[in-house]
């Protein structure tokens, strides 16, 4: 066998928590091999083990037949294994070129190389991997998420001589064209690629075989051509899921208006009028950087408006902080896109994370303990199908999907009738997605209103009562439910006249 990487009975335990309990897989030279599994199945741990971030407790790894046991990222790179991490490992205040070359940027050991020369080398690297639109001397923190992701991937490509590990490489990419051409070039050179993604369609497009993980164990390796989506899902979750139903709510124009904006401006938003009725789910679509972020943050009170009005519950409101928004009847609660930085409190338990909403909105101080919090949190947790046994976990130890559920549960806990969600189902597994959709519909059925943005068109089509499309900071179109289709949204998102690209996804 020409396996570039072979993994046998790999296991890893963090303290009392078993993350991997026995993984077997083999990646052939020049193959793109997918790893599939729900959040918490052990994919991230596998990535960490392969890239040298942590060391395994048991099992064996071999690279081109020789034992492979990297003690560090540098170690792994030395042996030709490199990783593009999901959480992006770029240092914010350094230039693109410096980040590309880390950790050994300068050619001289003691005498520093000039920044100009470093940037020149960085630019050469970028050119080599066909990245032409990102200046090598730009500071990373000034780049968009999509640009940063491409830098992350390019850096991994530049080090990958034997194995390239890509963990959710398309999470922020607007299209897969560049990525897939780079992957094909790498495999053409004999590099094995381990590809992790939640998007089955792209997995099918680029990968030949897939290994499915469940609960820290490898269930099996399959050739993707020979198995349908349902089959893969059943391997991932242990049974066959029911077919997805399109059960969007009927719009109810007569219902009470909970929220209105008039010529709302701020950030990239240049003036938007919208109204949100009780019982509807209003989707927001738009290409990256059209002001959707500003719109949701403004309505959620997480950003100060540059002009215009927000009318909540019939009265003009000054939403100067998320707290103010929550306390303005009938209550607005905002769930931001960045879970780690703006969402969770990682060392607090899930219950404490959820119950915090009660303390934030309820004016009176009170005594609490773990039990009280669990009781408080339980109902909201149920509404997002968060298993009660997770309530005692520190949130930092939960999978991304469960973290998202915790955030949504906290939002529900506030009792607000207006939910403002920014890409609520991004990067979560199928099961969690369904729970989130279910919660959203249920919330609207009970008379609440939801304003949500999604980077996935199918999601908008499936959930929205109507959909607002932003272009250049203004409302480009409002698409009613009956006219909702991915093609229609895409056309509007490109400013009416422009021709939609072939790719159906849009990014933040």
């Amino acid at each position: 066998m020409a396996d570039v990487l072979s993994v046998q009975a790999l296991s890893k335990q963090y303290g009392a928590t078993i993350a991997l309990r026995g993984v077997d897989l083999g990646i052939r030279r020049g193959e793109v091999h997918a790893i599939l599994g729900e959040n918490g199945a052990g994919k991230s741990t596998l990535v960490k083990l392969l890239s040298g971030v942590v060391e395994p407790d048991g099992g064996s790894l071999s690279l081109d037949g020789a034992p492979y046991r990297p003690a560090s990222i540098r170690d792994a790179r030395r042996m030709g294994v490199s990783t593009a991490f999901q959480e992006l490992s770029l240092v914010p205040d350094l230039t693109v070129a410096e980040n590309m070359l880390l950790p050994k940027v300068s050619t001289g050991r003691f005498w520093p190389e000039s920044l100009a020369s470093i940037i020149r080398r960085g630019r050469d690297l970028l050119e080599r991997f066909d990245v032409h639109d990102i200046p090598a001397d730009a500071v990373v923190s000034d780049l968009s998420l999509a640009q940063r992701q491409r830098i992350e991937i390019t850096r991994a490509l530049s080090h990958a001589r034997r194995l390239l590990v890509l963990d959710e490489p398309t999470a922020a990419l607007p299209d897969t064209g560049w990525l897939f051409s780079q992957i094909r070039r790498a495999t053409g050179d004999g590099v094995g690629v381990l590809y992790i993604s939640h998007r089955l369609s792209e997995v099918r497009e680029i990968c030949g075989r897939a290994t499915v993980l469940r609960n820290g164990s490898s269930i099996g390796t399959v050739a993707l051509e020979g198995v349908d989506d349902a089959g893969i899902f059943s391997m991932m979750v242990g049974h066959r899921p029911e077919a997805e139903k399109r059960t969007a709510l009927r719009p109810n124009k007569g219902a009470e208006v909970l929220l209105e904006t008039r010529n709302l401006r701020g950030g990239l938003l240049k003036g938007v009028d919208l109204s949100l009725h009780a019982g509807e789910i209003v989707g927001v679509a738009g290409l990256e950087g059209q002001g959707q972020q500003a719109l949701l943050r403004l309505v959620g009170g997480a950003m100060r408006p540059g002009g215009g009005e927000i009318i909540v519950g019939g009265a003009k409101a000054m939403l100067t902080s998320p707290q103010k928004a929550q306390r303005t009847p009938p209550g607005i609660v905002f769930v931001p896109e960045e879970r780690k930085t703006e969402g969770i409190f990682d060392t607090l338990t899930a219950a404490a994370n959820i119950a915090l909403a009660e303390f934030a909105t309820g004016g009176r101080e009170r005594l609490v303990n773990g039990r009280a919090e669990r009781l408080l949190a339980r109902q909201s947790a149920e509404r997002v199908s968060l298993s009660p046994r997770y309530l005692d976990f520190e949130v930092g130890n939960l999978s991304g999907g469960n973290q998202q559920k915790v955030l949504l549960a906290r939002a529900l806990m506030t009792g607000a009738r207006i939910l403002v969600l920014f890409d609520p189902a991004r990067g979560v597994d199928v099961g969690t997605k369904q729970s989130i959709y279910q919660m959203m519909r249920h919330f609207a059925e009970l008379g609440g209103a939801i304003l949500f943005y999604s980077s996935e068109l199918p999601e908008l089509v499936q959930l929205s009562s109507r959909c607002l499309v932003l272009y250049d900071g203004r409302l480009a179109a409002e698409v009613p439910q009956e006219a909702l289709s991915e093609a229609r949204l895409l056309a509007a998102a490109h400013g009416h006249g422009e021709r939609p690209t072939n790719d159906l996804r849009m990014a933040v």
């Binding site: 490992s89 240092v91 205040d93 350094l94 980040n99 950790p103 003691f110 500071v139 923190s141 950003m303």
Partner: protein
């Protein structure tokens, strides 16, 4: 913290200053220093005499060096209290070394640096190796060093070679030695900042996790930040011995809070990732100059503290205001 909040509410204006702006941040404190110097000189014209300048520089130098050392640790996000212990220890060791002349001074320097580096390495091991919180680990080493200093010299005294006392605090070709040392440190830093090690130091301070995943050896970077710090503290103690011509087992105590105040005044962020040694040097010099300005202005001695405190706050506010202005201009 508030900064983060303000920024997080408006992600599109989230632009941390890049390295160019970082370099400029030293300019701010230089500006504050210059303003203060102008005030001082206008009140006390004799401050411009060569002797007065030399004396001021000599007086400022130990704190400047100590602050420079502390900066290395703070830049990577750590905290180093051992400054007080290392300075006391090195100071008394120099005072009991029976050496003389330029060679003796060199021997003293060698011993001083060895001690500083050794204690710094212990700190580095405790923090980077054993993962003890930096503030706690260095508190313990500070106490141990203070004890050792007391063992070596029970009371102030001892002997410092005349070469250190006179030549190292004097001038060569009309340039004060202290100034030469300061310029050397600035040169060293502006070089170091551009090396991989220096870049890694800032990178670890900015985002420890990302730095680690980028292949930077975070532990190694942390470890050496403490070693650098120890070396600079030792140098501070060395120059302190030269200036005071004796050793004292409690010589380091005043440096504890002052060196951190100097670093903060220089605009280096506690928590890491932003700032630099040059800024800290001027932060320390500003603190020393403040003493002079207050004397020259004849502020009632009981209330000097009020003015001192207010100046510290205002200096930081001024720097923050300028940085804010720069940032909003960049965004606009």
């Amino acid at each position: 913290m508030t900064n983060q909040l303000a920024m997080s509410t408006a992600p599109h204006s989230r632009r941390l200053p890049n390295l160019k702006v970082l370099a400029e941040s030293a300019l701010l404190i230089v500006l504050i220093y210059a303003v203060m110097a102008v005030v001082y000189v206008s009140v006390q014209p004799s401050a411009l005499s060569p002797y007065a300048i030399e004396a001021l520089l000599n007086n400022s130098l130990p704190l400047m060096l100590a602050a420079a050392g502390a900066t290395f640790v703070i830049l990577q996000g750590g905290f180093d209290l051992s400054v007080a212990g290392i300075i006391s220890l090195v100071n008394v060791v120099i005072a009991v070394m029976p050496v003389d002349g330029p060679l003796g001074a060199l021997a003293n320097l060698g011993v001083a640096l060895s001690i500083g580096i050794a204690v710094g390495a212990v700190n580095g091991f405790l923090v980077a190796g054993l993962r003890i919180q930096a503030i706690a680990a260095t508190l313990a080493t500070m106490i141990v060093c203070q004890g050792a200093a007391l063992l070596i010299l029970g009371a102030p005294g001892g002997y410092v070679p005349d070469f250190m006392v006179y030549d190292l605090t004097g001038s060569v070709f009309g340039v004060p030695v202290a100034l030469v040392i300061i310029l050397a440190v600035i040169a060293l830093w502006s070089l170091y900042r551009r090396t991989d090690a220096g870049r890694n130091l800032l990178a670890v301070g900015q985002d420890r996790k990302a730095a680690g995943l980028s292949g930077i050896n975070v532990e190694r970077t942390e470890f050496f930040s403490f070693v650098w710090a120890g070396a600079f503290y030792a140098l501070a103690a060395y120059m302190l011995a030269a200036q005071t011509s004796t050793g004292s087992p409690s010589a380091g105590e005043p440096f504890l809070l002052l060196s951190f105040a100097a670093v903060a005044l220089g605009g280096t962020a506690f928590g890491g990732g932003r700032g630099g040694v040059t800024a800290s040097l001027f932060g320390a010099a500003t603190l020393t100059l403040m003493q002079k300005v207050l004397f020259a202005l004849g502020v009632s001695s009981f209330y000097t503290g009020v003015i001192q405190g207010l100046i510290m706050i205002l200096a930081v506010l001024f720097a923050a205001a300028v940085r804010y202005a720069v940032r909003s201009r960049r965004v606009a």
